[in-house]
């Protein structure tokens, strides 16, 4: 007789026996656990979850079972396969993490190796110094004025109340250009910029003029034929020496820190009347005259350092530059940037600033 064997006993089918399925599952789980690398795990996957693995084969047998037995067998095998796949995934994750961790360890470098393939650049401290100063004034609402380094004699001297026979005119050892009758000089101070400003702008004027100037000084540790000045000029109604003092005190504090102020002593400049020398509280001993019990070397125990010259703009200058001295008054001041910079940085030889050794500039980075 043919036809389905209705007497077929599912329990009799070996691969689907509960203990066989469990044995296959346990063997798989054990192998997964034992896999120590992603390669081993790959093989384990083939062996225990691949097409020819015992559980796959068992699964295929389910269809041959009588309908009554399929459900139970299906559930049993499915559960076993699920457990294996889960274990595989978990192990995969662990091994991947281990692999990554190992890779990172292997890729460790010595981070203290040099990295300076590209040498650093930098801006000259005289440039950044001049900008630092300019910014102090710009922050007060002043502007920065400029002018040429080769200048008309009239603007460099005459307009500033330095007539042809003024003794002060010879004190400034001027570089003259040829021919002398062209009356063109290398500017001896930044003051012609002030004259230009007054000649071309309407009051009120608040300008600061940093720049290069020239004198026929021999080149040594403290003198240079070219150096840098910053001058300031304020022209307004009611400008007084008190405003000059206020401005310079502010400048000193911004430049050198709290507690650094200025002191005036009578002096003489043709450009200003009254005129004053400006001294600055010594920023090393901060006016105490001694440092660690020893006389301060920076100010030689004076407590003050000579900083520059200043005064009320001489009305003769206002007239020559077209400013009405009846309506306006003004003040002007000037100091050496190189000198100020040497104060701030402790440089002792002026020539260091002009010989172009890159070690100077790179030491300052790009700011002071």
């Amino acid at each position: 007789m043919s036809g389905p064997n209705t007497d077929y006993d599912p329990v009799e089918v070996t691969p689907l026996k509960a203990e066989e399925v469990e044995a296959a599952r346990d063997a798989a789980l054990k192998a997964i656990d034992a896999a120590t690398s992603l390669e081993e795990l790959k093989q384990t996957r083939l062996d225990h979850a691949g097409d020819r693995s015992p559980l796959a084969l068992a699964n295929r047998e389910i269809g041959a079972l009588p309908p009554a037995a399929r459900k139970e067998a299906g559930q049993r095998v499915g559960k076993a396969r699920g457990a294996v796949n889960q274990a595989l995934a978990a192990r995969q994750k662990v091994l991947e993490a281990e692999h990554e961790a190992r890779m990172l360890v292997e890729e460790t470098v010595d981070v203290t190796l040099p990295t300076d393939r590209h040498p650093s650049g930098g801006r000259h401290p005289l440039t950044t110094g001049a900008e630092y100063i300019a910014d102090i004034f710009v922050a007060m609402g002043w502007e920065v004025a400029e002018g040429p380094l080769i200048e008309a004699e009239w603007l460099n001297f005459d307009a500033l109340n330095l007539g042809p026979d003024h003794p002060a005119r010879t004190m400034q050892d001027t570089f003259w250009t040829e021919p002398a009758e062209n009356h063109v000089v290398l500017r001896t101070h930044t003051s012609p910029v002030q004259a230009r400003t007054m000649l071309t702008r309407e009051a009120p004027i608040y300008v600061v003029c940093p720049g290069r100037v020239f004198r026929t000084d021999e080149y040594d540790a403290t003198h240079s034929p070219m150096f840098h000045q910053v001058e300031g000029l304020a022209i307004d109604e009611g400008i007084s020496m008190a405003n000059l003092k206020g401005t310079l005190d502010h400048f000193a504090t911004q430049m050198f820190g709290e507690g650094i102020v200025t002191r005036f002593r009578p002096s003489y400049f043709p450009f200003t009347e009254p005129s004053a020398e400006v001294d600055l509280t010594c920023f090393v001993c901060r006016g105490a005259q001694v440092v660690d019990g020893v006389t301060c070397r920076t100010c030689k125990g004076e407590g003050w350092i000579e900083w520059g010259g200043c005064g009320i703009v001489n009305p003769r200058v206002l007239v020559a530059c077209g400013v009405d001295p009846e309506k306006y008054s003004g003040f002007a001041f000037g100091m050496g940037i190189d000198r100020t910079l040497m104060f701030r940085t402790g440089l002792s030889d002026l020539r260091t600033l002009f010989e172009g050794d890159v070690r100077l500039t790179t030491a300052f980075g790009s700011e002071l």
């Binding site: 650049g121 008309a152 002398a180 000649l199």
Partner: protein, 829 residues
């Protein structure tokens, strides 16, 4: 200006308890700045006594010297009263002379400890001193021999020598001419402490009656001239000790009584005078200008050729002095002079200043005349000279003449008056100063003050020749009230617009260059022909035409530079020679090109007109701001990452391109040939076809000339121009986010076709869909054939609104290649 305190005190009643520092502090605050305080005899300690030489035996020594073995009476100063045995090397004394002895235990300046010591076979117990050993002068012809009437042996010698004199050295500003005298300093001291002043110029002098030496003034450069005559003068009379010491203290060497007295009175009053040997004068003294080419032999025995501008003192023999500058040799006082003519005159400051400059003869006299001397002083000064000469040199005063407008009240200039608003000092100083204080301050300087309503008129004393303007009075009030009283008040807030665009951009350029690894240097602008030759500039190169300096520091560098490169190349070489393996430097500075126009000199009583300003500014050399760059040696360092890379022409060009990118200015690069660059490796850079500089590799000869590594590269551009091309506002870019399509093309062209040309053709041909084109490979060799090169470009295409179809991209690519073929002869490989 050096002034012994005791001399100042003769004319001012300073409180006895006032210390020298209080005095100098006050004077400094008044504008007479303290330079230094010296004390004569400083550094001498211990027993310094008068000694009397009892015996002196000459003992020749083996070394050729002869010493004196002396016994010296030092009274009880040695504790025993016994004569002191002392070895002395000098020979200008004899037994019986009184000398200055320092005994063992004493110290001389320079911390020279004196002790009894064995020398030349004797125990020498002390030292007989010279002036130099005591720190009193440079002369060391021998020891000091005191006058016979000096105090007894054993007396402390300090007082005898006048040691302990305090000498104040002042720095006198050019406007304070009056302070170049004891009179002037004492006057400021008196007002500083508000104590009485005794004017040394207040002396009685005989009325001029024409009995002095006859004088004629033929030029208004002299407005006051006094002559006094002394007869029967003893030319051998010594200068009294107090005059010698005081002159020494002021830094003037003693010469002879007549000269010393003249100098003494100049220090006392500030009025220079001059003494002539009357016997050597012939005819009237005439003051006139020199004739061009006239000559004089001055007191320093130099023959000087005179200019028409020199003011002269002359007699029948010709010039006998340059007014206010220096006397002539022919009428000089000598050791046989018995009759003296004393001159005290007032000269025009400018005339004296110019003569002094012309003849390079700055003197104590000219220093005072050119700054301005009290015009009323001549008769008083002449009187002081005569008094002192007669007192110490014998003879008698024998006549007074005084000529010139300054000689009489009717003809002299009236006192100057200055009128100011009463509140001007308060307004300008910025301090509450009441009328009484202003008046009092001005009266303290000797002015007569009259107040009328809101204004005040000050009549200025003649010694203050510097006071001419209203603000001069403000300064007087300020210094008397005290500069330390000026309050600190910021002005009302200024309302500036911040940095200008150009100023901001210059900062940005500096930062960009520094960020690119370049180091800024600051260099002098002086240059010479040798520099241009080293750069290889042709003889007609415009850069060789510099603004020339009339007085350069070095004759090798007489010009103001037209190019930053010579300086930069030298700085680079200096760095290399100091051990750098490579340097990348930049400098921004103006250079100058002459304009060959004269700048006018205008008056200063008004502003120049616009036309006048234009003319003035047009005469100033053109001074564009340049950027110079030099890249020498290693540009990147070698290390574990690989070898160092040397700087090359391309790095130099890249500096300019990057700067253009930083500033938003499209920079074009073309090939050029220009010194100092390598003729085949030099680029000209331009914007919109306007060239503004060059970049590339330096010519090998230039590298050699400056001592730079081979293949060093450089840049020089006109930065003002580049900045002028920076757009005021940057247009925001529009870019597509559609997918990109990438296409590469390899083209073969002739080697002389530039990449820029091929690239431009590709751009033109590809049209709007092309986003970027970038050369990624260049190949020359067998595979492309002789005279050819292969260029590989990466093209990126993108449409603004859609994903490009393959056909569109291919079409654009073909169009690009076709254009390149048409314009550059390129063939696709």
């Amino acid at each position: 200006m050096k002034a012994p305190l005791s001399w100042i005190k003769e004319y001012v009643d300073l409180p006895a308890d006032l210390g020298i520092e209080e005095i100098t502090d006050r004077l400094t605050a008044l504008g007479l700045k303290l330079e230094a305080i010296e004390t004569s005899g400083a550094g001498i300690e211990g027993p310094l006594v008068v000694g009397q030489v009892l015996t002196a035996e000459k003992e020749p020594q083996k070394n050729g010297k002869t010493i004196n073995w002396c016994t010296v009476d030092v009274g009880d100063a040695n504790g025993t009263g016994e004569p002191q045995g002392i070895v002395c090397g000098a020979h200008n004394f004899k037994p019986g002379d009184k000398v200055v002895v320092i005994l063992p235990g004493g110290v001389l300046p320079g911390n020279f400890q004196i002790s009894a010591r064995k020398t030349y076979g004797h125990m020498s117990a002390g030292m007989i001193c010279s002036a130099r050993e005591l720190g009193l002068g440079e002369e060391a012809d021998g020891i000091i021999v005191l006058p016979a009437d000096a105090p007894a042996p054993g007396t402390d010698a300090r007082e005898v020598l006048g040691l302990g004199e305090e000498i104040i050295e002042f720095e006198i500003n050019p406007d304070r001419a009056y302070a170049l005298s004891m009179r002037g300093i004492a006057r400021d001291a008196a007002l500083g402490f508000d104590v009485p002043f005794h004017d040394p110029a207040q002396v009685d002098y005989p009325v001029a009656d024409g009995s002095g030496y006859p004088v004629r003034l033929e030029d208004d450069g002299c407005d006051h001239f006094v002559t006094r005559v002394i007869t029967g003068f003893d030319p051998a009379a010594p200068t009294p000790e107090f005059i010698v010491k005081r002159l020494e203290a002021t830094g003037v060497r003693s010469i002879s009584l007549a000269v010393d007295v003249s100098n003494y009175v100049m220090m006392e009053l500030g009025q220079p005078t001059h003494c002539y040997d009357r016997a050597k004068l012939s005819g009237d003294i005439v003051v006139r200008r020199a004739n061009e080419g006239e000559k004089i032999t001055t007191l320093d025995d130099v023959v000087r050729v005179l200019s028409e501008e020199d003011l002269l003192i002359t007699d029948d023999s010709g010039p006998i002095g340059i007014a206010g500058v220096m006397g002539g040799a022919s009428t000089e006082i000598s050791e046989s002079t018995t009759d003296i003519v004393v001159e005290a005159a007032h000269f025009d400051p400018t005339t004296v200043f110019r003569s002094q400059k012309r003849h390079k003869l700055p003197s104590e006299a000219s220093k005072r005349f050119e700054r301005g001397v009290d015009p009323l002083l001549p008769p008083a000064a002449a009187q002081r000279v005569v008094e002192l000469l007669v007192e110490h040199g014998g003879g008698q005063a024998a006549g007074v003449s005084e000529v010139g407008p300054g000689a009489s009240l009717e003809t002299r200039e009236p006192f100057r008056t200055i009128t100011i608003p009463v509140d001007l000092p308060a307004r300008i100083i910025g301090l509450d100063i009441d009328e009484a204080t202003v008046v009092k301050s001005l009266e303290l300087i000797g002015a007569r003050v009259a107040v009328s309503g809101d204004s005040l008129t000050a009549t200025i004393p003649t010694y203050r020749v510097d006071l001419t303007d209203p603000y001069d009075l403000v300064e007087e009030v300020a210094r008397i009230v005290g500069y330390d009283k000026v309050p600190s008040v910021l002005p009302r807030r200024a309302t500036g617009g911040g940095l200008t665009r150009a100023q901001q951009l210059r900062r940005r350029i500096g930062r960009a260059l520094a960020g690119a690894g370049l180091v800024e240097v600051v260099d002098f602008p002086f240059v010479g022909d040798a520099d241009f030759t080293a750069l290889g500039l042709p003889s007609d190169d415009v850069r060789r035409r510099t603004v020339k300096l009339a007085n350069p520091l070095s004759s090798e560098e007489p010009g103001y530079t037209t190019t930053l490169l010579p300086g930069l190349l030298k700085v680079a070489a200096r760095n290399i020679s100091r051990g750098q393996d490579g340097v990348s430097l930049f400098e921004t500075a103006t250079v100058a090109f002459p304009v060959d126009q004269a700048a006018p000199i205008y008056g200063v009583d008004r502003r120049p007109t616009e036309q006048e300003m234009e003319k003035l500014l047009a005469a100033i050399p053109r001074q564009p701001l340049h950027l110079g760059v030099v890249l020498a040696g290693e540009r990147t360092r070698g290390g574990w990452w690989g070898a160092a890379e040397a700087a090359s022409w391309s790095d130099a060009i890249d500096v300019v391109r990057r700067l253009g990118a930083e500033l938003g200015v499209p920079v074009e690069v073309g090939s050029a040939s220009r010194a100092p660059w390598h003729p085949g490796r030099c680029a000209v850079v331009s914007v919109d076809g306007v060239e503004f500089g060059h970049a590339g590799e330096l010519h090998p000869n230039v590298c050699k000339a400056f001592g730079l590594p081979a293949r060093s590269a450089a840049v020089e551009i006109d930065l003002d121009f580049l900045i002028s091309r920076v757009p005021a506002t940057a247009a925001g870019p529009v870019f597509s986010t559609m997918p990109v399509a990438k296409e590469d093309v390899a083209l073969t062209v002739s080697v002389d076709v530039t990449v820029a040309a091929v690239e431009a053709a590709l751009r033109e041909g590809a049209g709007e869909l092309l986003e970027t084109v970038r050369l990624f490979d260049v190949y020359e060799g067998d595979q492309v054939g002789e005279g050819k090169k292969s260029l590989a470009f990466a093209l990126r295409f993108r449409a603004p609104d859609r994903t490009l179809k393959a056909e569109e991209t291919a079409a654009a690519r073909e169009a690009a290649v076709a254009k390149a073929a048409e314009l550059t002869g390129a063939t696709q490989r």
